[in-house]
C-alpha cells in the first residue's frame, strides 16, 4: 500500500507518543496539517499567535516534562520566526523536534516564494538538522531526529520537509528505519575514576558540590541529595540547576556567580575540592576565570565530552551521565572524613550575609516572590523571563523540586516567559504554573495571552513592572554614570486592562500592604489571572559580581 510523506510524519509522531504539537500553518505545510486533521483526537494542536511563542511553548513543555517538544511551522518567515526559540533551547539543552515546511524540491535554490535556507540558518543552533530531498529519506531522518534530540546531551533538531515530499507517495514496504545506533556510542567511565574522586574527597577539608542543569535533565536530583546528605558535603546550584534541594537546609548555599549569593560565592572561593556535576561553567558563574576557586581542585562530570576542560582546568574530568556517576558514588561507603567545621563556617557566613531587601515601605519584587513562595504549592512550575525579574526569582523563590524552575539561562531570551508557561501548563494540567516577568520582556510575546485564553489554560501571571528595562538600567547605573540610554519604559500600557480586553482576570497592585492579599488571590484563583505590579523602579539585584571580576569581589548594595 502507498502512503504519503505527511502520513509518515504523523505516524512517527504517534509512535513517539507525541500528544501535543505547537504549530502554525502556511503554504508549505498545508499537506501536513491536512493529515493532522485526521488525528485531532490523538495529537492536539496548540496554536500560538507567533511562531516564536510556539517554539518557546514547546520548550516550556519539554523542560517541565522531560519529553520532546514538537514544533510545526511553514517555510520562510515561519521558519525564521522559530530561530530565537531554537537557539534558546539549544543553549539550555532542551529536546525539541522542529518540523519546517520547505518549497518544493524542484523550486529549491530559485529564490522561490517563502524560500529560505532553513538548515543553513539553523546549523549552529541545532544538534543536527535534516533537509529531506526525497521521500525515502523521510522516515529514517525522523527516527534520527527524535533519537538525537533526546539522547546524550539533549537539544533541538530540525527537519526541513519540502511540500511536495509531504504529498509524495511511497510503498509501505519501502519505508526504512533510521540507524539510531550510529549516534549512540557512549563511553563507559572507568570505576578507577570514581575511586580517585573518593580518595580526593577523603583528603579534602572543604569540599563543595556544584549541581547544574545536567542533574535535572538526567533525573538525578534525588541521588545527588542522597549523596551530599550521606557525606555531609555542602551544595550549591547554578541557575539551571535549581530544584535540587536537600532536606537538611544546613547543607544548601543557593547559587554562585554574578547574581549568586555572597555565601555561595564564598563557598566556591574557599573550597579545596569542587565536584561539578552537569554544569558547563558559563562566564556568568565564573567571573574572572583565573581567580575562580583559587584553592580548589576541580572534578568535572558531564555527559558532553566537549564541556570538560572547555572553560576551567580540572584535575579530573569524567565523561558520563551524572545519574550513572552518582549511582557509583552512592555504592561507596560513607566517608570517614568529617566536614562539619566547613559546614559550620559556611552557615556562619550565610547568617552574616543573607539575601536582603528593604521591607514595609515601597512595593518590592523580592517581597512578591517570597509571597508567591508562601502561597503557591511546592510543585508549582515557576517560569521567569529575563533580567532583574529572573534574578530575583532565582534568589528569593525556594525551588525544592526538579523541573519547577524554567528559565532561559544560556541565551537570556526576553519574551521567553509567557509562551514557555503555556507549554508548561499544557504538559502539567494539574499543577500550578506561575510566570514572573518584567514589563519589557512581557511585551515581546504579549500576543500569547490570546493562546492562554483560547485554550483556557490556568496560567498565573505576575508582571513586575519597574518602568525600565531594569537589568540594563542597573548596569548603566553602576558602570555608565547613570546615563539611562534606551532603558526607560515609562509609557508601559495598563497590562491589567489588556488582559481584561482579552478576557482574562486581572488586578493592578501598587502598595506593600495589599501585596499579601493579592498574591494569595493569584495563587487561589481557579482561572488564569494577571497581576500588574508597579514595583519600586529603583530596586536593583544584589549581590552582584561585576562581569570579569573574581567571585569574592562582590557588591552587596
Amino acid at each position: 500500500m502507498k502512503v504519503t510523506g505527511a502520513s509518515i510524519i504523523i505516524k512517527k509522531l504517534l509512535d513517539e507518543k507525541v500528544e501535543y504539537i505547537f504549530g502554525y500553518p502556511g503554504g508549505s505545510v498545508i499537506p501536513l496539517f491536512d493529515e493532522l486533521y485526521n488525528f485531532t483526537d490523538k495529537i492536539k494542536l496548540i496554536q500560538p499567535r507567533h511562531e516564536q511563542g510556539g517554539t518557546h511553548a514547546a520548550d516550556g513543555y519539554a523542560r517541565s516534562t522531560g519529553r520532546v517538544g514538537v514544533v510545526v511551522v511553514t517555510s520562510g518567515p515561519g521558519a525564521t520566526n522559530t530561530v530565537t526559540g531554537i537557539a534558546t533551547a539549544y543553549m539550555d539543552s532542551v529536546p525539541l523536534v522542529i518540523i519546517t515546511g520547505q518549497v518544493p524540491v524542484s523550486l529549491m535554490g530559485s529564490d522561490a516564494f517563502q524560500e529560505v535556507d532553513t538548515t543553513a540558518i539553523t546549523l549552529p543552533i541545532t544538534k543536527a538538522n535534516f533537509l529531506i530531498r526525497n521521500i525515502e529519506e523521510l522516515a529514517p531522518s525522523l527516527d534520527l531526529a527524535f533519537h538525537i534530540a533526546k539522547s546524550g546531551r539533549p537539544g533541538p533538531v530540525l527537519v526541513d520537509i519540502p511540500s511536495d515530499i509531504q504529498k509524495a507517495l511511497i510503498d509501505e514496504k519501502d519505508i526504512k528505519k533510521g540507524d539510531t545506533q550510529e549516534y549512540s556510542v557512549r563511553k563507559k567511565f572507568p570505576d578507577k575514576e570514581i575511586e580517585k574522586v573518593f580518595k580526593m574527597l577523603s583528603a579534602a577539608k572543604k569540599p563543595l558540590l556544584i549541581s547544574g542543569g545536567g542533574v535535572i535533565i538526567s533525573e538525578a536530583a534525588e541521588l545527588l541529595v542522597r549523596f551530599v546528605e550521606k557525606n555531609n558535603i555542602p551544595l550549591i546550584t547554578t541557575l539551571m540547576g535549581k530544584g535540587v534541594y536537600p532536606s537538611n537546609e544546613r547543607l544548601y548555599f543557593d547559587g554562585l556567580g554574578m547574581h549568586g549569593t555572597y555565601y555561595g560565592n564564598y563557598a566556591v572561593q574557599n573550597s579545596d575540592l569542587i565536584l561539578a556535576l552537569g554544569v558547563r561553567f558559563s562566564d556568568r558563574i565564573l567571573g574572572n576565570v583565573e581567580k575562580f576557586a583559587p584553592h580548589a581542585k576541580i572534578v568535572h562530570v558531564d555527559i558532553d565530552r566537549s564541556e570538560i576542560e572547555k572553560n576551567v582546568p580540572t584535575v579530573l574530568g569524567i565523561e558520563g551521565d551524572v545519574k550513572d556517576v552518582l549511582l557509583k558514588f552512592l555504592s561507596f561507603p560513607e566517608l570517614k572524613t568529617d566536614f562539619s567545621d566547613w559546614v559550620e563556617e559556611l552557615n556562619k557566613v550565610k547568617k552574616e550575609f543573607p539575601l536582603k531587601y528593604e521591607k514595609g515601605r515601597k512595593l518590592k519584587p523580592q517581597y512578591l516572590i517570597e509571597l508567591a513562595n508562601k502561597y503557591f504549592p511546592e510543585d508549582t512550575i515557576i517560569v521567569s523571563d529575563v533580567g532583574q525579574n529572573q534574578m530575583w526569582t532565582a534568589q528569593f523563590y525556594k525551588f525544592k523540586r526538579p523541573r519547577t524552575f524554567l528559565t532561559t539561562g544560556g541565551l537570556g531570551t526576553m519574551g521567553f516567559g509567557l509562551p514557555a508557561s503555556i507549554g508548561a501548563k499544557v504538559g502539567n494540567p494539574d499543577r500550578e504554573v506561575l510566570v514572573i516577568s518584567g514589563d519589557g520582556g512581557f511585551q515581546m510575546n504579549i500576543q500569547e495571552l490570546m493562546t492562554i485564553r483560547r485554550y483556557g489554560l490556568n496560567v498565573k501571571i505576575l508582571i513586575v513592572d519597574n518602568a525600565y528595562l531594569g537589568m540594563v538600567k542597573q548596569w548603566q547605573e553602576l558602570f555608565y554614570n547613570k546615563r539611562f540610554s534606551a532603558t526607560p519604559f515609562t509609557d508601559n500600557p495598563d497590562f491589567g486592562a489588556i488582559a481584561k480586553v482579552i478576557g482574562l482576570k486581572s488586578k493592578t497592585l501598587k502598595e506593600w500592604d495589599k501585596a499579601e492579599k493579592t498574591i494569595k488571590e493569584l495563587a487561589l484563583s481557579e482561572e488564569p489571572m494577571l497581576i500588574h505590579a508597579l514595583i519600586d523602579p529603583e530596586e536593583n539585584v544584589f549581590p552582584m559580581v561585576p562581569a570579569g571580576a573574581p567571585l569574592n569581589e562582590i557588591l552587596l548594595n
Binding site: 538548515t119 543536527a128 546524550g152
Partner: protein
Amino acid sequence: MDKPKKIVNVIVHDRPNVLVKLVSFFEKRGFKIENINLVKTEKPGISKYIIIISGENKNIGKFSKQLYKFVETIDVNFL
C-alpha cells in the same frame, strides 16, 4: 615568519554540512584553515577530514576536544 601549523584529523559521520561546521568551528576560534582534505574510510558513511590550520592560539589541544560537541564527530586527533 610562517605561522605555526597544526594538522587536525576528524573522523565523522558523513552528513551534509559537516564541512561547514568544521570550517566555522576553527574560524570562530581564530584559526585560519590552510588546507582541508576529505578522505573516505573503508566504512561506508564514515569519512575523515584532514585539516591543516594555522594561528597563534596555543590551545589547539583544548579546542580539538570541543569538536566532540558535534553529533557527527567520532574521533579527533591532532599532530
